[in-house]
């Protein structure tokens, strides 16, 4: 009991420090542009990675459709949020569908309260749309096993992308021109939480939900399906029902993350959600550890930071004295990144965290172990 109280205390302290840090970052955002953008992108990818992990790591369904569901969320959010005065600028080629314009006029003339929470409603709608799509597609796709499921979901994600960029939907999705002028993250709680911190809060809520789900009886049933489908079925677990649940929830949160990504990037096009995005996320999941939420979150930040920030200097020409170091040019960072990945995978065969989760007991134990080791040396 004491231990639990102590752990809660530690968690509260760390969370407070994190919030203080975020507020500090908000105050000094101009000097720390890179840090802000890496953290925001990291946290968004963390949500996709965790939702992909729910499906791949906890339910054992090897799905590669994440980018498709993200694009559903991103497009829904973007279309709903582009300000009415910017519509003509965005849809300059084909014009906008009258229904969208009418809807936006309606929102713009609605009470202020609705306008404040509307971005969140848009995110939620994107998520629900993706969940709905997942529910329908799941009926067909979830009967497939392992590799076949991967191929089917991969194809699905490409179909979604093709639909969004098709000329038939020009007036809605702006076809291959993509959408821009998407507003940034909205502030929360009437400005108490500045817009910079919003993605962190939204993602935290989502991840906490997923963690609770995994810990619940349903989460255990998911794990049973991962371990042995036939045995799980013999234990009275309805395979289709539970697989659908996992698929729908995973798609829902992927779409929420897609919506956040649209707000983060301010402009999206169908190409953003190509299959490479799914692979990027799969990479995060594998590096973090298939079956570990903590691992996915950690590796989302690490991978994003390494890719976008820490390795940047490999892209610039480097001079030591008057000698120019060879190979240092645009694109070289990705070579280094790939080599690093290989090293990480070789060292951590099952990802950084394996299937372990974060726990204070583990960290304290390790610290104590180190200390006693040092004591032993003396």
């Amino acid at each position: 009991m004491l231990k639990i109280k102590r752990n809660h205390l530690y968690s509260i302290i760390v969370l407070t420090l994190l919030m203080v840090f975020l507020y500090w970052l908000n105050a000094n955002r101009l000097q720390n542009g890179m840090l802000v953008s890496v953290l925001q992108k990291g946290v968004i990818l963390a949500l996709v990675a965790v939702s992909m992990n729910l499906l791949n790591g906890f339910t054992g369904l090897f799905s590669l459709g994440q980018a498709g569901f993200m694009s559903i969320g991103a497009y829904t959010t973007a279309i709903l949020l582009i300000p009415v005065q910017n519509l003509d600028g965005v849809y300059y080629m084909n014009g906008v569908h009258p229904a969208i314009r009418a809807f936006k006029m309606m929102v713009a003339s609605s009470p202020e309260f609705i306008q404040i929470i509307f971005p969140f409603i848009a995110l939620l709608l994107g998520g629900l749309l993706a969940a709905f799509a997942a529910a329908i597609v799941g009926i067909a796709v979830l009967r497939l096993k392992s590799d076949y499921l991967a191929i089917a979901t991969l194809g699905l994600s490409e179909i979604v992308r093709a639909i969004f960029s098709s000329p038939q939907f020009d007036q809605v999705t702006n076809g291959s021109y993509g959408l821009n002028k998407i507003p940034n993250f909205p502030p929360m709680l009437w400005g108490a939480i500045p817009s910079l911190i919003t993605p962190f809060i939204v993602v935290s809520i989502c991840i906490v939900f997923i963690v609770f789900l995994i810990k619940s009886s349903y989460g255990r049933a998911f794990k049973a399906i991962r371990e042995d489908e036939i045995a799980a079925e013999a234990m009275g677990i309805n395979l289709f029902k539970h697989k659908s649940m996992s698929f729908i929830i995973s798609s829902f949160f992927s779409a929420i993350a897609g919506g956040l990504l649209a707000m983060y990037m301010r402009s999206i096009e169908a190409k953003t959600f190509s299959i490479t995005l799914t692979y990027d996320i799969l990479l995060i999941v594998v590096i973090g550890g298939i079956g570990s939420v903590t691992g996915s979150v950690l590796s989302a930040f690490l991978v994003t930071a390494a890719k976008e920030w820490w390795l940047r200097f490999f892209d610039q020409p480097l001079l030591i004295g008057s000698w120019q170091v060879p190979l240092f040019r645009t694109g070289f960072r990705m070579v280094i990144f790939s080599i690093l990945l290989m090293i990480v995978v070789l060292i951590y065969r099952r990802g950084i965290m394996g299937t372990n989760e974060f726990s204070w007991d583990r960290i304290l134990k390790r610290l104590k172990f180190k200390r006693s080791k040092e004591g032993g040396k003396k």
Binding site: S216, Y218, K223, E227, D228, A234, M235, N238
Partner: protein, 279 residues
């Protein structure tokens, strides 16, 4: 008046041209131990899979607790190639998935142990409690079903205690010794709250001492959980020791049935097990 818990009528299972189970008629009496024996490839496990919903029979009907849980007749392609001994087709088609049948009160174990290997002993049993959960996904996620969840944990703990695995509760199930893995699989099946327990070769790969322990264990749980037991077995000692009724299968056909003493002396059984002198 004897009470029948499970009844199969003219069960025939044909894969392509091969009739794996042919006209199987079994009646399992309540509170008894019934065994199904036969040489390798006799169709015992296939019969099990038909009963538990894994396969749909080509023809025949399975009734559990006065409820038809599986019924089928030769359709489309099977109609042309059907080659069972019992020719009269049944009329209805009743399909139930294995999970549904488990929830109706029939739990099984597997020939080649199928535990949730990466999970602990405790989790293995706890998962089996999920099938009767009343709370939905959201109530369960937001921990609004505290009472139910607490009861699940409590029951699991009690069950582990009763089967003597409480000391191993936090061990990974795959790290248990073989005999205990078998025991855990049975415990997991018990956690679903069955009326009928189906054991598929529970003593496979066990030494004589472990087999003896197992036979005591089966008798014990049968009494304390008010179970009816139906088992497939190779170990004659175990079968003769614990069964009340035995069915003998060979090449998909029932060649004998009766008490252990009757079956042991049946010439057809001796022929199937020991072979016939061709000369």
């Amino acid at each position: 008046m004897k009470e029948i818990l499970l009844k199969t009528e003219h069960i025939t299972m044909q894969f392509g041209g091969v009739v794996a189970v042919d006209d199987l008629n079994i009646e399992i009496e309540k509170d008894r131990i019934t065994a199904l024996i036969g040489p390798n490839g006799a169709g015992k496990t296939t019969a099990f899979n038909v009963i538990t919903g894994g396969y749909q029979p080509s023809n025949g009907r399975v009734t559990f607790d006065d409820l038809v849980i599986g019924e089928n007749y030769p359709r489309s392609k099977m109609k042309k190639i059907y080659n069972g001994t019992y020719k009269t087709p049944f009329e209805k088609q009743v399909v139930n998935t294995p999970d549904k049948i488990t929830r109706l009160g029939m739990a099984r174990t597997f020939q080649n142990i199928r535990l949730f290997k990466d999970l602990t002993v405790f989790e293995n049993v706890l998962i089996a409690k999920h099938c009767h959960i009343k709370a939905g996904l959201f109530r369960s996620t937001f921990m609004l079903n505290r009472e139910e969840e607490a009861k699940m944990l409590e029951d699991t703990e009690a069950l582990l205690e009763r089967v003597g695995l409480l000391a191993n509760r936090d061990e990974k199930s795959s790290s248990l010794p073989y005999g205990k893995q078998r025991r855990l699989e049975i415990a997991r099946a018990l956690a679903t709250g069955p009326k009928l327990l189906l054991l598929d070769e529970p003593a496979a790969g066990m030494n004589p001492k472990e087999t003896e322990e197992l036979s005591l264990f089966i008798k014990e749980i049968k009494e304390s959980f008010n179970l009816t037991v139906f088992l497939i077995e190779h170990h004659m000692n175990l079968v003769m020791d614990i069964s009340d009724t035995i069915y003998v299968l060979d090449y998909g056909k029932t060649i004998a049935q009766g008490t252990p003493a009757e079956v042991q002396n049946d010439p057809a059984v001796i022929r199937a097990y020991l072979g016939v002198d061709e000369a």
